[in-house]
Symmetry: C2
Amino acid sequence: MKDVARLAGVSPMTVSRVVSGEPGVAPATAAKVGQAVRALGYQRNDNARHLRRKSPGTATIGLLVDDLANPFYARMARSVEDEAHRRGCLVLIGSTHDEPRREREVVAAFTARQVDGLILVPTAAGHGFLRGPAHAGTPVVCVDRPAPGLAVDTVTVDNRAGARRAVTHLLAHGHTRVAYLGDRVGIWTQGQRCAGYLDALTARGIPEDPALIRHGLRTGDQARAALAGLRALPDPPTALFTSNDLITLGVLDDLDHPAPLAVVGFDDLPLAERLTPPLTVISQDPLALGGAAAGLLFSRIAGDTSAPRSVVLETRLVERGSGELRRA
Amino acid sequence: MKDVARLAGVSPMTVSRVVSGEPGVAPATAAKVGQAVRALGYQRNDNARHLRRKSPGTATIGLLVDDLANPFYARMARSVEDEAHRRGCLVLIGSTHDEPRREREVVAAFTARQVDGLILVPTAAGHGFLRGPAHAGTPVVCVDRPAPGLAVDTVTVDNRAGARRAVTHLLAHGHTRVAYLGDRVGIWTQGQRCAGYLDALTARGIPEDPALIRHGLRTGDQARAALAGLRALPDPPTALFTSNDLITLGVLDDLDHPAPLAVVGFDDLPLAERLTPPLTVISQDPLALGGAAAGLLFSRIAGDTSAPRSVVLETRLVERGSGELRRA
DNA sequence: CTGAAAGCGCTAACAC
DNA sequence: GTGTTAGCGCTTTCAG
């Protein structure tokens, strides 16, 4: 900046004013400065700028998701970045890979960079560290899952209602033996979906049968094995509710034999309508999740200090065939 | 920091040393400082730190892709972030949505934040702005497509060889009328894939038939319409090479009627093996792309000033059925 | 309308 | 081992 000032024959202060588009500079002076800027290829150092400026922070937010490669979070990230871009804000990104340690590290690195706010898909573990004085003043929005014991804005989808809807749909097609296949119940979304499954049974007066409930399925293969187990029961299910896409895919190949099973999955899949059978799913809208989270965060950044809000988005039942199979 | 110093009864300099883990501080002093840090919830301001430190820049890189929501770029981003994290580096992210203006804006914002380097999926348009003095000293790596006229490191996949392989595969199954369905040839990857298609024909001595070549298909519906046109020819094709996944999906439903067509697509799809027919594809490895780009960038950042390098990754032919249909 | 001085939070370089 | 001084690149504040 000093170089530009020298070349333009003005003081650094004037260069600052021109570069920042502040009023009160003679057009002629501004032009000279502009030329010097272009001649030298000068670019303002925004880090230094934000160091001195008190006004709007650093115009940077942090986004920390479980895994960027997951299309669900990728779409969320996209809409967060779009919202940030509309507001002239940059986005620092990170993946936790569900490791609380990595989460803590990255959050620390983000706040050390003076981000104006944080959008976070919390890992399962405790988030006491976010409550410390280090984070006072940095607004946080949790998205996709809440952070237990952390009083911050949260955007989730109504997993429980969605699961209930799925299972109710199956019951409406005459099924009475509906199995639940899920990942670990400790995962918040899974717990919610299982609760929704039970809600639906209860509403119909169908007693819960522990033999039909399988938790902790972490891979497609495990799901497949679980299904085999279910089919070996004396009174096997005629329908399945699969609680995430990995599990849905795992059972897909074994739906027809020996007896056809109806299935509704939670989470939409890219090509669900082209599978055989076309998959009926409960679908979520990751773009809306990201958009809502960004909206909340920016209103906090703008100074909104009201009580923490909880936004819950609805899911959608998409009927494509696999869930409309009537009981044999 | 001054507050911490006061509370610990030492000078700010000592706090700095402790917080930065520098040697040469008495353990007792370090302990006192540590307590004060925790009591106040102090966190170092890394922006200010990097302002003064000359050593390793800001430990931040910029990643600019076409669209974060695209699973291909999402996976690339994930591996870039992983590599960056391994090196204690943060990642600023952005989407261009293929708009050169947005690309320029975001690149400018990144460099204004003093990123140590840039990984870029260049838009189609010119990149003269990257050559200006403003970017001297900020290493850039282009990934997925080259930036015409820009002498920087580039990581791409061998689109041409992949396409050639796909078409050769179809020819080997007895087909002589193989059609090409692609997006605008002006898009670099599409141009390469079309060239590969022609290579394969030439190698077999099969003359190119313009009636079998369709460019500019931007949607699945357009691809479908193009296929209808091909089928109406007096001498219709018996096999297709589809040059991206959108096009592949577009034609998928019309492969069997009136006559069965063999097809090989460029780009793998998540559930390709579960479609009917299971899809034979040329698959790329976005994680490897991202990893290679990050590797190159970090070696540049570390001071490698050798001539710009071009890394070209191979594709893989994945045979699943749709491409192994013999000529009727 | 423009410039000089001071300082944002931190660390390099040197003194003690 | 620890403190002092100066200054990173910019903007605030106030004086001309």
